[in-house]
Amino acid sequence: MNPFTYERASDASAAIELAKGNAAARYLGGGTNLVDLMRETVERPDMLVDVTGLPRGIEPRADGGLLIGAAATNTALAADSHVRRHYPLLARAILAGASAQIRNMATVGGNILQRTRCRYFYDNAAACNKRQPGAGCDARDGFNRYHAILGASPACVATHPSDMCVALAALDATVHLDGPTGPRSIALAELHRLPGDRPDIETELKPGELITAVELPPLPFARRSTYRKVRDRASYAFALVSVAAALDIDDGGVVRNVRLALGGVAHKPWRASAAEAALKGRPANAESFRAAAEAELAAATGLRDNAFKIELAKRTIVAVLGELTGDDA
């Protein structure tokens, strides 16, 4: 780990002031990913600005939505009674991630900004365009079971590892930012980028910008929602494929509205817009679900080790929607 200086910020403006103009400064949340990457010398900040003292409240909004302070821990968010009642897919997504210990440490802001777990990204001896632009990508023809089947580029096939973000993408969450040029907001679905030819630039954050809060709009039908994560062991593993879904069916058994997002398949949490469009107005049955899944995965391409994820994603989508159809929750 490279040496650094440490500062603890009392509020967002103090944090921004501390980091301003320093490209090698990093905001430190729970540290569960950043500290690991620093130890591997993949991240080499010269300054850490501790932002765990920033607001961590989880407050219902008058419109029925929710405002979540970026320093709220993953556990706090998953255990929040409003989240459990109104956004169960979010609670389940968070709880499917990592371990209880890590969820107790990790913050909402940090979870959003965690970096890929591609082993070639972690190994300084490997070629990685994300770690070292222009170096090449050892994952593309290497061990790529956990890699992207959607939206990948010749430069990078890494995936975003967050479970929570998949639910946030499905919920149309807004991310509130603050930075040297002032506060602004961005849809979570637009915060993370596809790799293109610059996989090292992972988000739309500008230099020095900080996530201060995440806002969930009201979504009454999200009470009928869930998250399913498929992985290589029964717990404590990253997703091969995950599906966050909320389903609204009318009395005639027709899909009135649906939210669907995928994890483990792309460089960003993948909002399944094509599948959603294909489902709306269709009968809520296995045939429609399969057609929607096919529509979403039509553009998917497999690599040596991960081609199975295309079919796995389709099946998991169908299963999750089927589960929500049968469930009276």
Binding site: G31, V35, D50, S81, I102, S235
Partner: protein
């Protein structure tokens, strides 16, 4: 840096890069807390911070100044084993004993989470007023602590027994935490 460790106030000079784990082990001699991966993937380093379980390997010590930290050394009282420690011995909840301090701290943190009605991914009803503790709940909640010797059954038996014996009003907290409460 200042910490309260097992009820005792300590002040220590440390490298800014030091993890809470290395600080405990190398600077303070609390070697009961173990290092198994140094990357949050095994749980051997689990300690309690203000009663919550965390992976001390991923925690920069500097970030935890002023906090109250409980390690395995702080679980028992006056030389007597904590009931959970005793249950681990009885149920053979370990073989080599290396992951054990982390398992113990994790289980104690877990008991508090259950008491606070924190759900897990296998909790069927997220809106229930309390967690229904069964073996599946315990196994999922303890999955952040690897045991390569494979003492998993004994660990669950020990925890189940201890949870059952601990009345609803009493968390199996560590002795100094009980003393403070």
């Amino acid at each position: 840096m200042n910490f309260t460790i097992n009820g005792q106030s300590v002040e220590v000079e440390a490298d800014i890069r030091s993890s809470l784990l290395d600080l405990l082990r190398n600077s303070l001699g609390f070697t009961g807390t173990k290092k198994g991966c140094d990357q949050g993937a095994c749980g051997a380093c689990t300690v309690l911070v203000d009663g919550e379980r965390i992976n001390s390997c991923l925690a920069l010590a500097v970030q935890y100044q002023g906090r109250s930290i409980t390690t395995v050394e702080g679980l028992g009282s006056d030389g007597a084993l904590h009931p959970l420690q005793q249950a681990f011995v009885e149920h053979d909840g370990f073989q080599c004993g290396y992951c054990t301090p982390g398992q113990l701290c994790s289980a104690i943190g877990m008991a508090r989470e259950i008491e606070r009605n924190v759900p897990s991914v296998v909790t069927a009803d997220l809106t229930a007023a309390s967690v229904t503790v069964d073996e599946t709940e315990l196994r999922e909640r303890m999955s952040g602590n690897l045991c390569r010797c494979g003492a998993y059954n004994g660990i669950i038996e020990a925890i189940s027994e201890t949870l059952a014996e601990t009345s609803a009003s009493q968390t199996p907290a560590s002795s100094h935490e009980r003393a403070r409460a």
